[in-house]
């Protein structure tokens, strides 16, 4: 019996099986990733994190600006982190300058609405209403909610862009 030939055939079959297994795992990964990707964003819309404005950004993305959405979102999170810090500092000043607070939150709201950050926009409106009433405790509660919404949306969009980049 030609054992060396048999051994070669077994090695070749093992390699082929291994390659097929690797291909299958890769296909499974891509399928799962695409599935996650295609339901991930609609879920953000359904949960009220994003509104139609996000779709506007996606429509503006093209071959000449292939990362437009991610760049605009990154710009928002850079600006908004700074604004949140400024709002927090302004709230802690005594006496509070509600005019300045309103102005800062106005900027934050406008910035958030540019990327379709619906929940944050709504919370900003609540904050402005509290400012109008000189309701410091209301402002503080709203700020905490704004920070939570901000952190959650940042995490979700980072995940979305990470998944997007693997496809």
């Amino acid at each position: 019996m030609d054992y060396s030939n048999l051994r070669r055939q077994i090695i070749s079959m093992k390699k082929s099986l291994f390659d097929q297994k690797r291909l299958l795992l890769r296909a499974k990964f891509l399928f799962t990733t695409k599935l996650i990707f295609f339901i991930f964003l609609p879920v953000l819309f359904l949960q009220g994190y994003l509104d139609e404005q996000f779709n506007q950004l996606e429509e503006l993305q093209d071959d000449s600006s292939p990362n437009f959405v991610e760049e605009v979102v990154a710009l928002f999170f850079k600006d908004s982190s700074r604004l949140l810090t400024n709002i927090e500092q302004a709230l802690e000043k005594c006496p509070q300058d509600f005019y300045r607070l309103d102005s800062l939150v106005h900027q934050f709201k406008g910035s958030g609405s540019s990327i379709g950050a619906l929940r944050m926009k709504n919370e900003c409106s609540m904050f402005k209403a509290h400012c109008n009433e000189r309701n410091l405790e209301g402002c503080r509660r709203s700020l905490q909610k704004m920070k939570r919404e901000h952190a959650t949306l940042k995490q979700k969009l980072e995940t979305y862009f990470q998944v997007n980049s693997t496809l």
Partner: protein, 130 residues
């Protein structure tokens, strides 16, 4: 004339906006319209200077809240120069008081932020610009 190319009109727009994110969005929207030459001013005072120096614009889009000079005052001063270019106020709030203040200052229209394709097309169609 048969076979003659139709020359597309160039639209000169002045965007008065201090925040980069809004400028980035407006730039992309206006680029998508095509044929737009865009000038930008970071505040109302710069906008008035540009209008004085650069001549006629087809459209001025101005934010309300800006450092140095806000959109209301910039609109007033631009109108005082005798400029009749359509001026559209922009703001994240659409309180009646904001809209009234812009119109009283001499703006022709107001649109709430964020700017979108639909809002921009409505403005361009209203003033027969594109």
């Amino acid at each position: 004339m048969a076979g003659a190319a139709v020359e597309r009109k160039v639209i000169r727009v002045l965007l008065v906006e201090d925040e980069e994110i809004h400028r980035v969005l407006a730039r992309a929207l206006l680029k998508a319209v095509g044929g737009v030459v865009l000038d930008e001013a970071g505040n109302g005072a710069e906008a008035v200077r540009r209008v004085r120096e650069a001549g006629a614009y087809d459209l001025i889009l101005t934010d309300r809240q800006m450092p140095v000079m806000d959109g209301h005052e910039a609109t007033r001063q631009i109108r005082d120069l005798g400029v009749t270019t359509p001026i559209v106020g922009l703001s994240s709030d659409c309180l009646d008081s904001d809209i009234d203040a812009f119109i009283k200052a001499g703006a022709d229209d107001f649109t709430p932020k964020p700017l979108s394709k639909e809002k921009l097309n409505r403005i361009l169609a209203k003033y027969n610009i594109a």
